[in-house]
């Protein structure tokens, strides 16, 4: 193999004129993190609601929850990205569609919404499993004390369910973080996109992707460490 290794490449100016290649990768990292965090806010909120719906006694609520999960879980993320970015603006009334297409940072907003709703289906599945793993008597005890259904969820069922599902939720967060890279297909300048750009400008493919790989691993390990801290923090004494 005839390859010119050049680890100094990171400190050379990128042709974009906005700093070195290292700066380019770092700006990609920032977009990756911001996209992942915003998408997670949606995923956690929507996923919790959908997960709860699936555990309510009401058949209608369960059906809505199930439909959501099956819809968002069974379409490939890449296809969902395209649907939100290319198809949705065409299906809306024309003025709305135009407004959407002209939004500054449209790829970012689209990626956040798409990833948020996609990951929500996976969070919902965990929340449902967590609630159903609790003893049936817990719901009864809350109800018997006079708590409403909403209060029983808020003060009894969810705090316990979240504790149980913290490890799988951490995995979902990591998936969510890594899935941001799919958004490069709609033009989000996140870490993977920046690594590819670096490769194209400099032809240093190995350096570019080695750096991206290491960055992904490091932030994922950081997430795992933080999740461990949270887990210890919320651990229930005596269990």
């Amino acid at each position: 193999m005839n390859y010119n290794w050049n680890w100094g490449i990171f400190f050379e100016q990128s042709p974009e004129g906005t700093g070195s290649y290292a700066d380019m990768l770092l700006s990609g990292l920032v977009w990756t993190i911001v996209t992942a965090l915003c998408a997670w806010v949606i995923a956690f909120a929507v996923g919790s609601v959908i997960g709860v719906l699936r555990t309510l006694p009401s058949r209608a609520a369960q059906a809505i929850g199930n439909a959501y999960v099956e819809l968002f879980r069974n379409i490939p993320l890449l296809v969902q990205m395209f649907l939100w970015y290319f198809v949705l603006p065409e299906m809306l009334p024309e003025s709305w569609g135009t407004w959407l297409k002209q939004l500054p940072n449209a790829p970012f907003y689209t990626a956040v919404v798409c990833l948020g709703f996609f990951t929500a289906s996976r969070v919902a599945e965990q929340v449902r499993a967590g609630i159903q793993a609790l003893p049936r008597g817990q719901r009864m005890a809350g109800t018997a004390l006079g708590l409403t259904t909403a209060q029983t969820y808020r003060y009894v069922l969810l705090p316990n369910a979240y504790r149980i599902i913290l490890p799988p939720l951490t995995s979902e967060f990591l998936n969510n973080l890594k899935n941001t890279s799919v958004a490069l297909t709609i033009g989000l300048l996140e870490l993977t996109a920046r690594a590819r750009a670096m490769q194209e400008f400099s032809f240093q493919v190995f350096e570019a992707f080695t750096a991206a790989t290491i960055i992904y691993i490091v932030i994922n390990l950081l997430v795992v460490a933080v999740a461990g801290l949270i887990e210890r923090r919320v651990a229930v004494p005596g269990r």
Binding site: P135, M140, T143, A144, L145, G146, L147, V236, R239
Partner: protein, 286 residues
């Protein structure tokens, strides 16, 4: 069962005196609290009238009729699967039923207009498996519903909770979590949690059957005391010692039916039905 497991307490007051003398946060000297006597209902506290219930095709309860008057202690017994838990859960509408009527303190529970959370907050319930909330400290277990349902302030709820904990001999454990207590201690906390709501009636579903034998006594002691203070109680249990000591009436169920509903003396003296006789001889052998 003696009162030896209980902490030293002042002599048990007369029920009426206890009800009248109690200040708003509940006294330390009594388990019973100051829920004002409900006016204009001279009828029974719980009236179960012709209740039937099905799970699909399977009939769990068949035309059950009985009642519990104020201050009465009624023990419900019967073989496993006879519908005891189901019946008691129907009383505070934890289980729906398809036929008949249940009224609690004059309120029809199957009436669509009934505010069920409010009604349930007046009916204390103690479960076989305690069902304390594992993520909350004992203090918070006792405070949660007081604050969220009755709207008491944090201080008020905690003071009330502490007073009741002291009564069940667990004040020193207030800061702990359920997982750090023994089964008997957890069940006493669960009783205190129900009492913190100032219930007008208490339901118990086999409160001692998940306990190691050496812990049964401490829980029964609390229940005996509660009964002697005049609490209206409906108790599913096989502890016939408890029944002999404090029950007014004993109900025997079999296959979803109330087979026998008699004064205690009558029930233990000469049960009329053969099924009750067999059941009694079987559980009293041990």
């Amino acid at each position: 069962m003696t009162s030896s497991a209980m902490p030293p307490v002042s002599p048990v007051p007369e029920p009426q005196a206890a009800a009248a003398a109690a200040p708003a946060t509940g006294p330390v000297g009594t388990l019973l609290t100051e829920r004002p006597p409900v006016a204009a209902t001279s009828g029974p506290m719980i009236a179960i009238d012709g209740v039937s219930k099905w799970y699909g095709d399977f009939q769990v309860l068949t035309n059950c009729t009985t009642s519990v008057t104020k201050g009465e202690v009624v023990v419900v017994c019967g073989p496993s699967g006879s519908g005891k838990s189901t019946l008691i859960k129907c009383v505070n509408a934890l289980e729906p039923f398809q036929k008949g009527q249940i009224t609690v303190d004059g309120t029809q529970i199957a009436n669509k207009k009934t505010n069920l959370p409010k009604l349930r907050s007046r009916v204390g319930m103690v479960f076989q498996h305690f069902e304390l909330f594992p993520h909350l400290s004992i203090t918070d277990n006792l405070s949660l519903a007081q604050r969220k349902v009755l709207g008491r302030s944090k201080d008020e709820a905690q003071a009330k909770g502490l007073a009741l904990l002291e009564r069940v001999g667990l004040k020193a454990h207030a800061h702990k979590f359920p997982g750090q207590l023994s089964g008997g201690q957890q069940q006493r906390v669960a009783i205190a949690r129900a009492l913190a709501m100032n219930p007008i009636v208490m339901l118990f579903d086999e409160p001692t059957s998940a306990l190691d034998p050496e812990m049964v006594g401490e829980v029964l002691d609390v229940m005996v005391e509660l009964a002697r203070e005049g609490m209206t109680m409906m108790v599913v249990t096989h502890e016939m010692g408890f029944a002999r000591k404090v029950a007014n009436r004993v109900i025997f169920m079999d296959k979803g039916e109330i087979v026998e509903d008699a004064q205690k003396e009558e029930f233990f003296g000469s049960p009329r039905s053969e099924r009750a006789q067999t059941f009694l001889s079987r559980i009293l052998q041990h």
